[in-house]
Assembly symmetry: C2
């Protein structure tokens, strides 16, 4: 492990879905680029881990104690969208059609992987709801797979005692631009059951 | 681009087969690890690009002007194995059955991608052969695909004028541990044609 390239391969192979062979390929690619690329990459990694933290309120990425979304007074304070991951938050932000707050769980319940409620930011959500009685709606936007659905169900039960809060989830159906022929039977069933009347 | 995480996603997405979504996933993974991981990764990238260069003789990776293989007096000086890439060199080294020198071309001829002889370390190989009249054999170990075979053919013609040098290539056939039923017809044909007599 004295050789820098061996160290680099070792570190890169800890990344998700990067095995030792891919790590070597990435390391050789970095070496073949102009030296400025490697320098910029190292700097970006360093600045990210040194400067980025999680927002104390919603657990989004942040440079400060509170993230940009939590700090923005123009965002609706009465509505929280609960997501599994920061990538989901970013996907929803890209729609420009949600102006409320977020709460990032940082995962979904998954007993097989040893991820229970304690591993997620669920307790923090409850504390937040107690601190902010102005919150009127929680949109549970977990992924529509086994773990995501289990998390949504768990959360919905946990939120029952908050009588003044409406708990909703994202609509299921045919994705816009999707092909019905390639969709799974569950999605088509949901789309049929929740069919909309032309108005 | 003021946000460190955006910068990191931008730099990571320049890696081969890493799109913007994968880059975000990698960046979030780095952030979720203990901070020491990000620091170690950045350090490894930095040390690699600052310390590693290409050997002046064979174009292997090296910490010095000449790589460890070129410097080792116990290695046979009369034989050079020409490979496309450093990963190929490492794979051959792992066999512990080759004790000669290497020459890394850093690619294979590929007119479609604009890679001609000038882009590879071919001129450097010829200079090396002129400088070292003791070299008696060149093993061309390019990959057995279209680009690799074209490179091997090109090299073999280029080496014709060196009357004293034997030019060889790796044997084709059934890989050890391979399943005949899953092998392509070309490989089986080669293995049939070059069949070996029991002795």
């Amino acid at each position: 492990m004295s050789n820098p390239i061996e160290k680099l391969v070792h570190e890169l192979s800890k990344l998700p879905s990067v095995g030792e062979k891919t790590a070597l390929r990435l390391a050789l690619h970095i070496l073949r680029q102009p030296i400025d690329y490697g320098r910029a990459l190292a700097k970006a990694v360093n600045e990210t881990v040194e400067q980025i933290c999680f927002c104390e309120n919603c657990y989004n990425l942040s440079l400060e104690k509170l993230c940009k979304i939590c700090c923005k007074p123009s965002r609706v304070q009465e509505m929280i969208c609960v997501v599994e991951d920061i990538a989901d938050l970013l996907a929803i932000e890209r729609t420009h059609h949600f102006s409320g707050q977020y709460h990032v769980l940082h995962g979904a319940l998954s007993p097989i992987d040893g991820i229970g409620p304690e591993e997620l930011k669920i307790k923090e959500l409850l504390v937040r709801l107690q601190k902010h009685p102005e919150i009127q709606e929680i949109i549970i936007a977990t992924n529509p797979n086994v773990n995501g659905e289990a998390t949504a169900l768990y959360l919905s039960k946990l939120l029952k005692p908050f009588d003044h809060i409406k708990v909703t989830k994202l609509a299921s159906g045919i994705p816009v631009g999707g092909h019905i022929e390639y969709l799974d039977p569950n999605t088509i069933t949901q789309a049929l059951e929740r069919r909309l009347e032309f108005v």
